[in-house]
């Protein structure tokens, strides 16, 4: 039961974050929000008895992926300035 409530809360958070990621004007916020979506997703995976997937999502989806986004964004900003 507690799992259910956590799942619902996380699910709603994921969707909110996803909407922020898509619609927020600031790209940096968008990228972070997308990373948070991944992070929350990995919690869902834990709930779903998938620790392997959770680890991978955390390391790759919210970690490396976000870093790559930032590297590229940073590079673009530098070129702009």
């Amino acid at each position: 039961m507690i799992n259910l409530i956590i799942a619902i809360v996380i699910g709603v958070l994921i969707l909110i974050m996803a909407i922020i990621a898509v619609h927020h004007k600031n790209i940096v916020v968008g990228i972070i929000a997308a990373g948070v979506v991944s992070l929350f997703a990995s919690i869902l995976y834990l709930l779903l008895a998938a620790p392997d997937v959770a680890m991978t999502e955390a390391a790759i989806g919210s970690g490396l992926s976000t870093i790559i986004f930032f590297y590229v964004l940073n590079k673009i900003k530098r070129q702009n300035g």
Partner: protein, 123 residues
């Protein structure tokens, strides 16, 4: 709450995430936002996949102290979707990295992140 299972909640989350991702892909004009849309779409699919492999009240498909070695078949969730998701996540990362590199390259050429500025090829 009787019919509301964990995996149904996550499945719905995943489906909506997929839709939000596609919405982002189709409506955002900023190239990076489009790539973000793709990652959301991808994550949504992964959540759907893991949800499908879940079996109620079972543990992770790892045989340790918590699992009765003689009754593994009745105590763990389906390992196959998890294995597939592992693969899919890594593939998704490769694709994302590639997309972002393209975006970078496009920006270097034209100094714009607006997708509408890359319509030279048409008809």
């Amino acid at each position: 709450m009787e019919n509301l299972n964990l995996e149904i909640i996550t499945l719905i989350t995943g489906v909506i995430l997929v839709l939000i991702g596609i919405w982002g892909l189709l409506t955002q004009k900023n190239l990076i936002k489009i790539v973000i849309g793709f990652t959301l779409f991808d994550t949504g699919i992964h959540i759907i996949m893991v949800s499908i492999g879940y079996v109620k009240n079972r543990t992770a498909p790892i045989i340790d102290q918590s699992v009765n070695i003689n009754d593994v078949g009745n105590s763990v969730v389906d390992p196959v979707p998890q294995a597939l998701v592992l693969t899919a996540i890594v593939i998704g990362l490769g694709v994302t990295a590639l997309m972002l590199t393209y975006v970078l390259k496009m920006y270097q050429k034209r100094k714009s992140l607006e997708i509408n500025n890359y319509n030279d090829l048409k008809w």
